[in-house]
C-alpha cells in the first residue's frame, strides 16, 4: 500500500493565504470605521494637551498609525475610544520625553467660536490655566473636560490613580472657580 502526499499542501496554503488577505483587508476597513467617530475628539485632545503646538499633527499621525498597526491587539469587549486615547497618551508622553519644552501656540481669538468678548475672555482664562499645568495634569484636565471621560477611564488611559486625578481636577476647580464665578451668577 502506498501513500501519495503529493499536491495536498499547496491548495491548503493558498486558501489560508487568501483568507489571511481577506482578514487583513477586513481589519483595515474595520479600523477606519471604528476611528471615524473618535478621530475628531482624539485630534482635539492631542492638540490641546500639546498646547496647540505644531507638533500635534505628527503626534496624531503617530497615534493613528500605531493604533492601525496594533488593531489586532485591541480587545473587542473593551471601549475602542479608551484604547485609542491610551495610545495617544503614550505618544504624547514620548513626545515630551523627546522635546520637553514643546512650544505653545494658542491663538484663541482664531480658535474660539465664542460670540461675546466676555465668553472669549473666559475661554482665554481657562486655556491659559491649562497651559500652566504640567503635561500630565493638562492631559487629565482635557480628558475630563474635553473628552468627557470618567475618572476610572482616565485612570485606565493614563495609569494614574483615581485619587491623583481627583486632586488634579479639584485644584483646577478651585483655580477656575473665582474666574468663572462671575459668569455663573449671571
Amino acid at each position: 500500500m502506498s501513500w501519495d502526499f503529493e499536491g495536498t499542501p499547496e491548495p491548503i496554503a493558498g486558501i489560508s493565504e487568501m483568507s489571511r488577505e481577506r482578514e487583513t483587508a477586513m481589519s483595515k476597513t474595520a479600523f477606519w470605521d471604528k476611528l471615524a467617530p473618535c478621530k475628531h475628539k482624539l485630534y482635539n485632545y492631542i492638540r490641546k494637551s500639546l498646547n496647540f503646538s505644531a507638533d500635534a499633527d505628527d503626534v496624531f499621525q503617530e497615534t493613528v498609525l500605531h493604533a492601525f498597526q496594533y488593531i489586532r491587539s485591541y480587545n473587542e469587549d473593551s471601549d475602542f475610544g479608551a484604547w485609542l486615547f491610551g495610545i495617544a497618551h503614550n505618544e504624547i508622553k514620548k513626545h515630551y520625553k523627546k522635546i520637553p519644552q514643546t512650544a505653545s501656540s494658542i491663538e484663541l481669538d482664531r480658535l474660539s467660536s465664542a460670540d461675546t468678548s466676555h465668553t472669549r475672555h473666559l475661554v482665554g482664562e481657562v486655556y491659559r490655566y491649562a497651559e500652566r499645568l504640567n503635561p500630565r495634569q493638562r492631559e487629565v484636565f482635557f480628558l475630563f473636560y474635553d473628552g468627557g471621560f470618567t475618572m476610572a477611564e482616565i485612570s485606565g488611559i493614563t495609569g494614574l490613580r483615581e485619587g491623583n486625578i481627583k486632586f488634579i481636577l479639584n485644584r483646577a476647580r478651585n483655580a477656575l472657580k473665582t474666574t468663572l464665578g462671575v459668569s455663573h451668577d449671571r
Binding site: 480658535l111 467660536s113 475630563f144
Partner: protein, 110 residues
C-alpha cells in the same frame, strides 16, 4: 445638582467651545502612510497558537532542569578520614585530644 457639577459643566462647555477639525492634509498623509502598513499580529502572546507558545516554554523548563539539577544535587558523603576524640577534666583544667591518623581504615578488620 451640586455646585461642583455645575462648575464642571461650565468648564467643559468653555473647553469644548474651542474645536479643531482634523486638517484634510493630515488625514490624507495618514491614509497614505497606512496604505504601506499591515496590521501586525499584536504584541500579546495569547494571540499566537498554543503549540507555538509551548515550544519556548518547554525549552526553558528543560534548560532550567539541566542547569539546576546538578546544582541542587547533594554533595557526595566524604569517607571518614579522621576520628577525633576529646576528653575534658573540668576541675583540673585538662583537655586530652586523640586524633586518629588518616591512614586508619575504619571499615577494615585487622
Amino acid at each position: 445638582m451640586t455646585d461642583e457639577k455645575k462648575l464642571d459643566e461650565q468648564i467643559a462647555r468653555i473647553v469644548r467651545s474651542v474645536e479643531l477639525e482634523v486638517p484634510p492634509a493630515v488625514e490624507a498623509r495618514i491614509r497614505e502612510a497606512a496604505a504601506d502598513l499591515q496590521p501586525r499580529a499584536g504584541r500579546f502572546w495569547f494571540r499566537r497558537p498554543l503549540w507555538l507558545t509551548l515550544i519556548p516554554s518547554t525549552a526553558a523548563v528543560l534548560l532550567a532542569g539541566i542547569v539546576l539539577i546538578p546544582a541542587l544535587r547533594r554533595p557526595p558523603v566524604s569517607p571518614i578520614s579522621e576520628i577525633r576524640t576529646e576528653f575534658e577534666i573540668a576541675d583540673k583544667n585538662i583537655k586530652i585530644v586523640f586524633i586518629q591518623k588518616p591512614d586508619f581504615n575504619l571499615f577494615k578488620e585487622n
